[in-house]
């Protein structure tokens, strides 16, 4: 057991756990935050995707000790108090989720993609999303929703009228 500190969804946190335990089980079993899912345990499916300093990682295959001092973000941490993240909003609008079990991971991968590439091409979407399996087969909608989220986010960033970020419909 070892004491480790990091930030989780913006909150500083100190835990006392087996440092070799994968981050996934710290999040799910110790912290009881269940939005991050267990799918394969081997880094093969992406269901457990979270962000480490903004980059997507597979938390099932990432030891807690490697997160020490870093910023971790989970699906619970991407919406603001008042609004869903544009990716979540686009997902909801396009009825992406079926069983929904893979979608936390899909969304975390998509959020990271859009943060680094605000207007991704299909090839960039392919590359960023290849690690996330959806057994229900929602891929066609995931692709569309990422494009949709890109345009929603663009509107949020640029509102020439007020100079503030707002949410608005774009067709």
């Amino acid at each position: 057991m070892a004491k480790l500190g990091f930030t989780l969804n913006g909150q500083p946190l100190e835990v006392d756990v087996d440092p070799s335990m994968p981050l996934l089980w710290l999040i799910r079993d110790e912290l009881a935050m269940t939005g991050t899912k267990f799918g394969c345990g081997l880094g093969l499916c992406g269901a457990c995707t979270v962000h480490l300093n903004g980059s997507p990682i597979r938390s099932c295959s990432f030891p807690v000790q490697a997160a020490a001092g870093q910023a971790i973000t989970t699906i619970e941490g991407i919406a603001s108090d008042s609004a869903l993240h544009p990716v979540q909003q686009a997902w909801k609008e396009l009825n992406v989720a079926q069983c929904g079990y893979c979608q936390s991971g899909q969304i975390m991968s998509a959020v990271a993609l859009l943060a680094s590439q605000p207007n991704p091409s299909d090839a960039e979407i392919d590359a960023a999303m290849a690690g996330n399996i959806c057994r229900c087969g929602t891929y066609p909608r995931i692709r569309r929703a990422i494009h949709r989220a890109a345009s929603l986010a663009a509107v949020q960033v640029f509102d020439p009228g007020t100079g503030t970020a707002v949410q608005q419909e774009v067709v």
Binding site: T36, L42, L44, L84, Q88, N95, G100, Y139, R143
Partner: protein, 720 residues
């Protein structure tokens, strides 16, 4: 009150599109209604209204992605004249009134949910609406026709009626003898595009699956199992495991070992330290190739059971043309691995898990623990995928047994390896397809399917949970053994196929040696459509006809098959694929829905690339059209995964695959463009969860033939 709904419907006059139906819901008698609350208005098992005006729907058909939650809320909401989002949805417990008329049991499967709920749920909504209006009318001293229920507001010209008063009076009113259902032309929600009711919770991480439920002091259990089917535990040494920090118990459960610890990680670490010796069991030395060779021998030597014969055998004139097809075992691989939380409480065994049959859970857990069925309390949850896997609650029974033995609240978590290696698999199967061709005309079509039987394994489970406890185990397996050789799923889609030839027959030869089997999205259709629609394509080429024209020529012109084929051909621009691409077509009916697809492929070396799938579907009334489209898309991806990658193989009676590296899924970059066209219809829904799966593999194989001239008669498709 006792009118039989179906007969009544037949004889019912339909006035201006509205439908008057007799009331069939029992609402009294045998068993208390689920979520009963004395203060509520609850004229049926499905729907209740609380004194503070909440409308609570019991979700009798589980939500595993296919959209039942939204679909069923839409049906009651339509009759209640309020947006579906106003309906409070609860996961239903077992109740006899929730039995599916097609299964005589409370099961979610067979793509039947909206098909068999279409009348009962609208009736449930109409009944509540009628009673509330009647109560409001009495309270205000006016006629019921003057009362309106709109968007949750109950009002008359004299003002709003508080729910507390209306509900309390409505409870005492006699139930109306007939109900008027809304006319299709008046639908506000049915057939309209809307967002899924579970859409938001599924993008925020708030949606709760079985694995997410928290209970104080829960310990996690993981299993160490014999890899060989039918094998057994010879000896084990759990010392090192028990010495691991956080580990509390290692229990022997049905010839496997359960490691109980604080959290998944500790349990898994400890499980890896157990030294164990297994006995291989009845399939020792048996591998997939041997089972396949056995099927080939059976196909050649056994006449099998005749399932269908149309026309006279003498009409099978001309040259004989015969081909053999093969498909492997397949695993379901639901994204949420099987899991259950089981807790011994003063009420009995309480279980939190996602399953497809609440009734089986009650029956099988009670049977396994030797307690009564009402002591099994299942809190069903959203399912992270089902696809038929979770009809059989073996994982729940396992959790309950561990909890009973351990004494602690137990969360049993199957690893992905457990899931891939201990699934109930889609059967492996062989088909011998035979035709006769006389002067360029196909005169007969015969199929002989050789496969192990799902029935043989499933029927004993069913009878065990439905029949009295004193019935000995041997009786259940005898019943299963009797049913197996005429398992209808083995030939579904081969028998009753729609093409017309002078002579047709279908036979089934059962293979006895088998891995554990189960229902896998679209069941027998998943392989039989591949056999049938590939062979039809072969016949088209044999008689030098365009595969579309050949099909249309053998079909009734006004049939649903011809309609979807023409539509899909038109939308896919059949015959004019983009340069470098080739097309294949297939049509198949399953679960009363007809689906046709055109697949565009290109081939580079040995790599098959799927560019586009165009899909046309006749599913009757689309209650939630966008969810029909989603089910077609998802079914196509599911079917492509099987066609391009899916294969479970056995060695020494054990599954060789273990996780997503060797049991691969289609991924986003490989996922084609998909276009879906839904035939307009007003009558009633058929089914959409499964029917998109069967036609994909043959449409793809037919496209690969067009591209390469190679006729691939085995799944997954591999170019040589």
């Amino acid at each position: 009150m006792t009118l039989n709904r179906r007969n009544f419907l037949k004889g019912t006059a339909i006035t201006a599109g509205a439908l008057v139906v007799g009331v069939t819901m029992t609402g009294c008698g045998r068993m208390p209604l689920p979520h009963r609350n004395a203060e509520d208005l609850q004229p049926s098992a499905y729907l209740q209204v609380t004194p503070d005006g909440r409308f609570i729907l019991q979700l009798a058909k589980v939500e595993m992605g296919q959209g039942t939650l939204t679909g069923m809320a839409t049906l009651v909401a339509e009759e209640l004249n309020m947006p579906p989002s106003m309906i409070v949805v609860e996961h239903a417990r077992y109740h006899p009134d929730f039995a599916d008329p097609e299964f005589y049991a409370m099961i979610t499967g067979g793509s039947s949910s909206l098909r068999t709920s279409f009348e009962p749920l609208r009736e449930a909504g109409a009944m509540v609406s009628a009673l509330l209006k009647q109560a409001a009318a009495q309270l205000h001293g006016i006629a019921a026709t003057e009362v309106a229920l709109i968007d949750g507001v109950l009002s008359s010209p004299k003002g709003t009626v508080p729910y507390a008063e209306a509900v309390s009076l409505a409870r005492t009113l006699p139930r109306p003898e007939s109900l008027t259902l809304r006319a299709p032309s008046e639908y506000r929600f049915i057939g309209k595009k809307m967002t899924r009711l579970d859409g938001e919770e599924k993008v925020t991480g708030a949606a709760q699956y079985g694995l997410d439920i928290q209970y104080p002091n829960t310990l996690t259990a993981v299993m160490v199992r014999c890899p060989h089917f039918g094998g057994s535990l010879e000896s084990y040494d759990a010392q090192a495991a028990l010495a691991t920090k956080g580990v509390s118990q290692v229990l022997e459960i049905d010839g496997a070992l359960a490691v109980v610890a604080k959290g998944y990680w500790a349990a898994r670490q400890a499980a890896n330290k157990i030294k164990v010796t297994w006995k291989a069991g009845p399939l020792e030395g048996v591998d997939s190739a041997a089972l396949r060779a056995e099927r080939h021998r059976l196909a050649d030597s056994e006449p099998g059971k005749n399932v269908e014969e149309r026309g006279s055998a003498e009409l099978a004139r001309g040259e004989r043309f015969e081909q053999r097809y093969d498909v492997p075992l397949l695993a379901h691989a639901t994204m949420e691995p099987p899991n259950a939380l089981a807790v011994r409480t003063e009420r009995g065994m309480e279980i939190w898990s996602g399953c497809q049959s609440q009734q089986f859970v009650q029956g099988m857990v009670a049977d396994a623990l030797g307690i009564s069925e009402d002591q099994v309390i299942l809190h069903n949850q959203l399912l992270g995928g089902g696809f038929g896997r979770k009809i059989v609650p073996d994982y729940i029974v396992e959790a309950a047994k561990i909890a009973q033995r351990s004494g602690a609240p137990i969360r049993l978590v199957w690893s992905r390896e457990d899931d891939i290696r201990h699934d109930l698999y889609r059967p492996c199967a062989t088909a011998l397809m035979t035709a006769t061709i006389d002067n360029g005309k196909v005169t007969s079509l015969q199929s002989k399917a050789v496969a192990p039987s799902i029935f043989g394994q499933f029927i004993p489970l069913m009878t065990q949970s439905f029949m009295p406890r004193w019935v000995p185990d041997a009786t259940h397996s005898t019943i299963g053994g009797l049913a197996a050789p005429s398992d209808p799923s083995a030939t579904e889609g081969l028998a009753k196929q729609p093409y017309q030839f002078d002579y047709q027959r279908a036979d089934y030869v059962m293979q006895k040696r088998t891995a554990p089997l189960g229902y896998w999205r679209s069941v027998g259709h998943s392989q039989n459509a591949f056999f049938m629609e590939s062979f039809i394509d072969e016949l088209a080429h044999k008689v030098k006809k365009n595969p579309l024209d050949f099909r249309l020529g053998q079909l009734d012109e006004d049939s649903r098959y011809a309609k979807v084929l023409k539509l899909v051909a038109d939308k896919a621009d059949w015959g004019n694929p983009p340069a470098g691409q080739y097309q294949g077509i297939a049509v198949h009916e399953s679960f009363r829905t007809v689906v046709a697809q055109v697949v565009n492929v290109s081939v580079e070396g040995k790599t098959i690339r799927v560019h586009k799938v165009v899909c046309a579907v006749d599913c009757g009334l689309a209650v939630n059209p966008d969810m029909v489209v989603a089910q077609m898309e998802g079914g196509i991806v599911f079917g492509l995964t099987a066609a391009l990658k899916g294969e479970i193989t056995l060695k020494d009676g054990a599954v060789e695959q273990s996780n997503f590296h060797d049991y691969q899924m289609l991924r986003l970059p490989e996922s084609p463009d998909i276009e879906v066209y839904v035939l307009p219809a007003q009558d009633r829904p058929s089914g959409v969860g499964e029917p998109a799966v069967p036609p994909v593999a043959p449409a793809l194989a037919n496209a690969v033939f067009a591209a390469t001239g190679q006729r691939l008669r085995e799944l997954p498709l591999r170019l040589v």
